[in-house]
C-alpha cells in the first residue's frame, strides 16, 4: 500500500512538477484564507487579518519547497541536472572523454558485432510454423562409430508408418538442376522432396499448390514448385507461371506452385520436385536421404527419441542383414542446422566479453585518476551540503553518459564490423541465417552499455564520494590525499587487466598456432596452378552411360590441348570441396560383414589424367587408362593407407575388392595401382580411405574437371568454359575455382577464428598497455615529492628507475600469475577448435607471458624515466 502511494505520488511528481506545486500552493492558500476568515470573525480589519494569517504561517516558500521535496518531486530534475552537469564536465575534459568513449566503443562494438552474428545463427526464429516443434532424423550406426548418416528410403517409409510421435515425417534429397528456357541455361540448386514436406514445415505456397501424394510416386516427378526468388528472377514474378512447362535436367516439368518469399529448404534450395522413389531400386542400404519431422503437440524430444529407438529395433529385427546395429537420432532442427557453430560462437562471445571487461578496467582507471584531480570540487560540493548519495549519483550519471556515448559509437562500429565479418566468410550462408541490427541487437547493446557504465563507474564513484571533509580541506587539496584505498584499487585494476589480457593473448596464440599447423598440413596433392570446374550433364539429354563418358573424354582431351595446360583430368568428388561419396568396402578373402560394420570408404571416379593433373603421386603399379573400358576387366587404384591397412608388408597389386553392400554381389575390381593419400574430407584429420575407379567403367553425369596450368590458372577459365560450350551450347558450368581457393575455403572457419582472436587480443594488449602506462605514470606523479626527497638525499637515477619499474613489474607479475591460471582453466573449452595444438600448449603460454611482461615493462619504463628527471627543488617546492 505504502509502496503504491509513494509510487503514485512520485510518478505524479516526475511527470507533473507544475501540477504538484499547484496542488500544494492551493492547499496552503486555502489555509491562509481560512485563518484570515477566522481573524476577521475575531474582529480584525481585513488588512490586519491577512497580515496576521501570513505571519502565523511563517516562510511560505520554504514550506512549499519542503513539501515538494517530501512528495518526491525533482527526481527527473535532479537527473536532468546531473546529466547537464556530467556533459559539461566531460566537455571540459575532452581528451579524457574521447579516450574513455573510444575505449568503450571498441569493447561494446566488439560485443555487438559478435552478438549480431550469433543472433542470426542462434536466436532468430526459423521461417517455418512453430519451428521449435521441428526435428531432424538421422540414421546411426553406433557400433561402427558413425553417429549420423543419411536415411534409406525403405527405413523412412517404415518410420512414417510406425511412429506415433510425429504429425508427419518428410524426406528430401538436395540436388542440382539445369534449368533451360527463358534465358541462359542455369544450374539451380533444389531438392527432391516427399509429398508431406511443406506440410511438415507449415508453409503454404503463395500461388498454386504443393506436391500431391500421387505425384510422389515413380513416374510422377513431372511437376515443380518454384522458390520466390527464382520466380521473380527468371519468370518476372508472373502469376500465370502456374501451369507453364519448364525444362529441368532436360525433362519437361509443369510448374504447380510458388513458395512465399524467404522460404527455402534445405539450406539454399530454390526449387522442389517430387521425391518419387522406387522401393525396388532404393534399398535399405542406400543412405541417401535426409528427413525432417514435426513433433505432435505435447510430445517431447526425449519421447520422440525413445519411440524412434523402438521403431528402429523393430525394423532391425525384421531386416537383420541390412539394419544390424542401425539406430535413429532425433535432433532439434535448429541445433542440427547450427551444429558446431554454436560452440565457436559462444567462445567468441566469451572473448569479446573479456575485451569489454578490459575496456571497463581501463575506463575505471581513468575515472580514478580523474577523481583525484576532482577532489577539491567534490569536497566543496560536500561542504555545501551534498550528501554522499547525491555525489555518488552525480558521478555515476557521468559514467553512464560516457558509456552511452561509447555504446552509440560501438553500435556504429558493429554495423561496420558485421559487414567485415560477413565478408570474411566465403561460404554461402543458409537462407535462414539473417544478419542485421534488429531489435534484439540494439537491446543487447543497450543492456551491455548500461551494465558497462555501472561496472566501471561504481568503484571509482564509491571511492570518490567518500570525502572526509576535515582531511581534504586541511590538506588543501594536495595530491597526497589520494589515499591508500585508492592506490589499492588501482593496483587491483592493473592486476585484473593484465590477467584478462593474458587469457585473451593465450587464446589467440593457440588459435593462430593451430591455424598455422593446419596450413602446413600435407593435403596429399599439389594445388598450385590447378583450375577446377563442375559440369553436371542432364540425364534426359545424356541417358546412356556411354554418352556421358564420351562427353567427359572429349572435354578432358580438349582441355588438355589448350595452350598453357600441362595436364587435365576429371573427378567425381573433388577433395575438400564438401562433396562426398561413401560406399562400403569388401575385400576378397576377408570375412563378409553386415553393412553396419563394413568400413565406409571414399569412392572416387576419375579419368586417367587426374592424378597427374592434381599432383597426386603414383606409388606403385600403373595409372588408370582409357583402355580400362566398360568391357575390360574391372580395375581400381587405391590409396596408400588402404594398401597398408589390408596388405601390410606385401603388395596390394592384383588383389581384388568390391563396393556397395556385401550382399549385393557387385563385381570384383582388381587393384592395379597405389597412389598417395589425399585429405579428401577434412584437412585436420585423415578420415576415410580412398579408392579410385575408371570413369569408363562407372560412367557418371556429374564430374569436376581439373586442369594444371603453367601460369595463373584463372587465366584459363574463359577458355575452359569455351570448350564446354563448343561441345554442348546448352551445358552450364558451375563453381569455377582454383584448387588453392577450394582448399582455403575448406579452412575458412579456423582462419576466421584465428583472425578474430588475433584482432581481439591485439585490442586487449593495446588497452592493457595504455592501462598500465596510465597507472604507472599517475603513481609517479603522486610520488614526485617523495622522489624529490630521495634524489635530494642522494638517490641515483638508476635507483629511482629500479624503484618505479619494480613497483609496476610486481603488479604485472601478480596479474600474469592469475591470468595464466585463468587461461589454463579457460582455454580447455576451446580444445575442440584446436588442431594439433594442446589447449595447455606450454610454448604458447610462455611466449605470451613473456610478451605481456615485456610490454608492461615498457609501459612502466616511460614513466620511470620521467621520474629520474624529477628536479628535487621543484619537487619539494610542490609542497
Amino acid at each position: 500500500m505504502r509502496g503504491f502511494n509513494v509510487l503514485k505520488s512520485r510518478l505524479r511528481a516526475l511527470f507533473g512538477r507544475e501540477s504538484v506545486l499547484r496542488d500544494i500552493d492551493e492547499e496552503l492558500r486555502a489555509h491562509v484564507e481560512m485563518e484570515e476568515a477566522a481573524n476577521l470573525a475575531r474582529g480584525m480589519t481585513p488588512a490586519e487579518a491577512r497580515r496576521a494569517a501570513l505571519r502565523s504561517f511563517g516562510n511560505l516558500g520554504s514550506i512549499r519547497d519542503a513539501a515538494y521535496e517530501i512528495r518526491g518531486g525533482g527526481m527527473l530534475e535532479t537527473l536532468w541536472q546531473d546529466l547537464r552537469y556530467g556533459v559539461r564536465a566531460l566537455a571540459k575534459h575532452r581528451g579524457f572523454a574521447a579516450v574513455a568513449v573510444v575505449t568503450l566503443a571498441l569493447g561494446i562494438g566488439a560485443n555487438s558485432t559478435i552478438f549480431s552474428f550469433a543472433n542470426g545463427v542462434l536466436l532468430r526464429p526459423l521461417p517455418y510454423r512453430q519451428p521449435e516443434r521441428l526435428v531432424m532424423l538421422d540414421e546411426t550406426a553406433p557400433k561402427r562409430g558413425t553417429l549420423s548418416m543419411g536415411v534409406s528410403f525403405p527405413n523412412f517409409l517404415d518410420w512414417r508408418a510406425q511412429n506415433r510421435v510425429f504429425e508427419e515425417i518428410a524426406a528430401y534429397q538436395p540436388g542440382s538442376y539445369a534449368l533451360v528456357g527463358g534465358g541462359e541455361p542455369e544450374q539451380i540448386r533444389g531438392a527432391r522432396v516427399s509429398a508431406g514436406l511443406f506440410e511438415v514445415l507449415g508453409v503454404a505456397p503463395v500461388t498454386g499448390r504443393t506436391i500431391l501424394s500421387e505425384e510422389d510416386r515413380p513416374g510422377g516427378e513431372t511437376v515443380v514448385i518454384l522458390g520466390h526468388g527464382l520466380w521473380e528472377r527468371r519468370f518476372g514474378a508472373d502469376p500465370r507461371v502456374v501451369g507453364r512447362s519448364v525444362s529441368l535436367n532436360n525433362r519437361p516439368h509443369t510448374v504447380v506452385g510458388v513458395m512465399p518469399p524467404g522460404f527455402r529448404f534445405p539450406e539454399v534450395a530454390d526449387l522442389w520436385v517430387p521425391l518419387a522413389l522406387d522401393t525396388q531400386r532404393w534399398t535399405r542400404t542406400d543412405h541417401g536421404l535426409s528427413a525432417v519431422a514435426r513433433l505432435k503437440d505435447g510430445v517431447t524430444l526425449e519421447q520422440a527419441q525413445a519411440e524412434m529407438g523402438a521403431v528402429a529395433r523393430r525394423i532391425e529385427e525384421q531386416n537383420p542383414v541390412t539394419n544390424e546395429g542401425m539406430g535413429v537420432t532425433v535432433t532439434d532442427l535448429r541445433a542440427g542446422l547450427v551444429g558446431d557453430y554454436r560452440q565457436s560462437l559462444l567462445i567468441l562471445l566469451g572473448v569479446v566479453g573479456f575485451v569489454l571487461l578490459i575496456a571497463c578496467v581501463n575506463v575505471a582507471n581513468l575515472l580514478l585518476a580523474r577523481a583525484s584531480t576532482r577532489r577539491k570540487e567534490i569536497s566543496i560540493r560536500a561542504a555545501l551540503g551534498a550528501s554522499r548519495r547525491r555525489i555518488f549519483r552525480q558521478l555515476i550519471t557521468e559514467s553512464l553518459v560516457l558509456s552511452a556515448l561509447g555504446g552509440a559509437l560501438g553500435l556504429a562500429l558493429a554495423v561496420w564490423g558485421l559487414k567485415l565479418l560477413l565478408a570474411s566468410v566465403p561460404v554461402e550462408f543458409p537462407f535462414w541465417m539473417q544478419f542485421g541490427l534488429d531489435g534484439r541487437v540494439v537491446g543487447f547493446t543497450a543492456v551491455v552499455t548500461l551494465l558497462t557504465g555501472a561496472l566501471f563507474g561504481a568503484a571509482p564513484a564509491l571511492q570518490a564520494s567518500k570525502v572526509d571533509l576535515n582531511e581534504t580541506l586541511k590538506e588543501g587539496g594536495r595530491s597526497a590525499a589520494a589515499g591508500a584505498g585508492q592506490g589499492r584499487l588501482r593496483s587491483l585494476l592493473v592486476v585484473v587487466e593484465v590477467a584478462l589480457s593474458l587469457v585473451l593473448l593465450v587464446g589467440a596464440g593457440l588459435m593462430m598456432r593451430s591455424f598455422l599447423r593446419l596450413q602446413q598440413v600435407d593435403v596429399g596433392l599439389d594445388p598450385r596452378g590447378v583450375l577446377t570446374m563442375g559440369v553436371s550433364l542432364p540425364s534426359a539429354k545424356y541417358p546412356e552411360p556411354e554418352k556421358q563418358s564420351a562427353f567427359f573424354a572429349q572435354l578432358v582431351e580438349r582441355l588438355g590441348r589448350l595452350p598453357g595446360v600441362r595436364e587435365a583430368g576429371a573427378v567425381s568428388n573433388l577433395p575438400l570441396s564438401g562433396s562426398r561419396w561413401g560406399r562400403s568396402l569388401t575385400v576378397e578373402g576377408r570375412p563378409v560383414v553386415g553393412v553396419g560394420q563394413a568400413p565406409s570408404i571414399n569412392h572416387c571416379v576419375v579419368t586417367p589424367g587426374y592424378f597427374r593433373a592434381m599432383g597426386i603421386p603414383l606409388l606403385a603399379g600403373r595409372d588408370l587408362a582409357e583402355t580400362d573400358s566398360k568391357d575390360a576387366p574391372k580395375v581400381t587404384v587405391i590409396d596408400e593407407r588402404l594398401a597398408r591397412e589390408y596388405w601390410p608388408g606385401e603388395s596390394a597389386l592384383g588383389k581384388r575388392v568390391r563396393f556397395g553392400p556385401p550382399e549385393a554381389n557387385e563385381p570384383w575390381h582388381t587393384v592395379v595401382g597405389v597412389v598417395g593419400e589425399v585429405r579428401h574430407e577434412r584437412m585436420d584429420a585423415a578420415t576415410r580411405m580412398s579408392v579410385y575407379l575408371p570413369y569408363r567403367q562407372i560412367p557418371l553425369r556429374g564430374m569436376t574437371l581439373a586442369a594444371r596450368a603453367e601460369g595463373d590458372p584463372l587465366g584459363l577459365a574463359a577458355a575452359a568454359r569455351e570448350q564446354v560450350r563448343a561441345l554442348d551450347p546448352d551445358q552450364p558450368v558451375t563453381s569455377v575455382r582454383t584448387m588453392e581457393e577450394v582448399i582455403s575455403r575448406a579452412v575458412w572457419q579456423p582462419r576466421l577464428h584465428a583472425i578474430l582472436f588475433g584482432v581481439f587480443a591485439a585490442v586487449a594488449l593495446a588497452l592493457a598497455t595504455v592501462g598500465i602506462y596510465g597507472v604507472m605514470s599517475y603513481a609517479v606523479t603522486q610520488r614526485t615529492h617523495e622522489i624529490g626527497v630521495r634524489v635530494a638525499l642522494g638517490a641515483r637515477p638508476r635507483d629511482i628507475l629500479r624503484m618505479v619499474v619494480r613497483q609496476g613489474l610486481a603488479l604485472t607479475l601478480v596479474g600474469v600469475a592469475v591470468g595464466a591460471a585463468a587461461a589454463f582453466a579457460l582455454t580447455r573449452v576451446m580444445a575442440s577448435l584446436l588442431f594439433e595444438v594442446s589447449a595447455a600448449d606450454p610454448a604458447t603460454f610462455a611466449a605470451n607471458v613473456v610478451l605481456l611482461t615485456l610490454v608492461s615493462l615498457l609501459a612502466c619504463y616511460v614513466p620511470a624515466r620521467r621520474a629520474t628527471r624529477v628536479d628535487p627543488i621543484t619537487a619539494l617546492r610542490y609542497e
Binding site: 500500500m1 505504502r2 503504491f4 502511494n5 509513494v6 505520488s9 496542488d23 500544494i24 492551493e26 492547499e27 496552503l28 486555502a30 489555509h31 484564507e33 481560512m34 485563518e35 476568515a37 502565523s56 504561517f57 511563517g58 516562510n59 520554504s62 514550506i63 519542503a66 513539501a67 517530501i70 512528495r71 518526491g72
Partner: protein, 110 residues
C-alpha cells in the same frame, strides 16, 4: 543530539495529527483547530510543520487526501485516516502511554 530531539517531536506531531483525524476527515486548517480544541488550547501546532508532516504521513499510507469544499464553500484538501493509519495510531498511543508511565515512575522514585 539535536536530531534525536527532532525525531521525538516529529513522532509526537504525527500521533497528534492521526488522533485529530480519527474523529473524521479534516483539512489542514481544521487539523490545527482540532488539536487546539482537544488540548484545551494548550497545544498550538505550527502551520510550517503541519504540512510537511501531513505529506509524510500521506506517503506512508496512514492518511489519504481528497479535494472537497469546506463549510463556507471554499475548495480545500481533506485528509482522512486509513486503516493502516488507525493501526499506527493505536501503536503510537500504546507506546506513548508506556513512555508516560515510565517517565512518571522515574520521577516518583526517590
Amino acid at each position: 543530539m539535536t536530531q534525536t530531539k527532532a525525531d521525538l517531536l516529529q513522532g509526537t506531531l504525527d500521533m497528534l495529527i492521526l488522533k485529530a483525524l480519527s474523529l473524521g476527515p479534516l483539512h489542514g486548517y481544521g487539523v490545527i483547530q482540532r488539536i487546539r480544541q482537544m488540548s484545551e488550547e494548550m497545544l498550538e501546532v505550527e502551520q510550517g510543520s503541519l504540512y510537511p508532516a501531513l505529506y509524510r504521513i500521506e506517503q506512508r499510507g496512514w492518511v489519504s487526501s481528497k479535494w472537497g469544499t469546506n463549510e463556507t464553500g471554499r475548495r480545500a484538501k481533506f485528509y482522512s485516516l486509513t486503516a493502516a493509519g488507525r493501526r499506527q495510531l493505536e501503536a503510537e498511543e500504546a507506546s506513548w502511554d508506556r513512555l508516560v508511565l515510565a517517565v512518571a515512575k522515574v520521577r516518583r522514585a526517590t
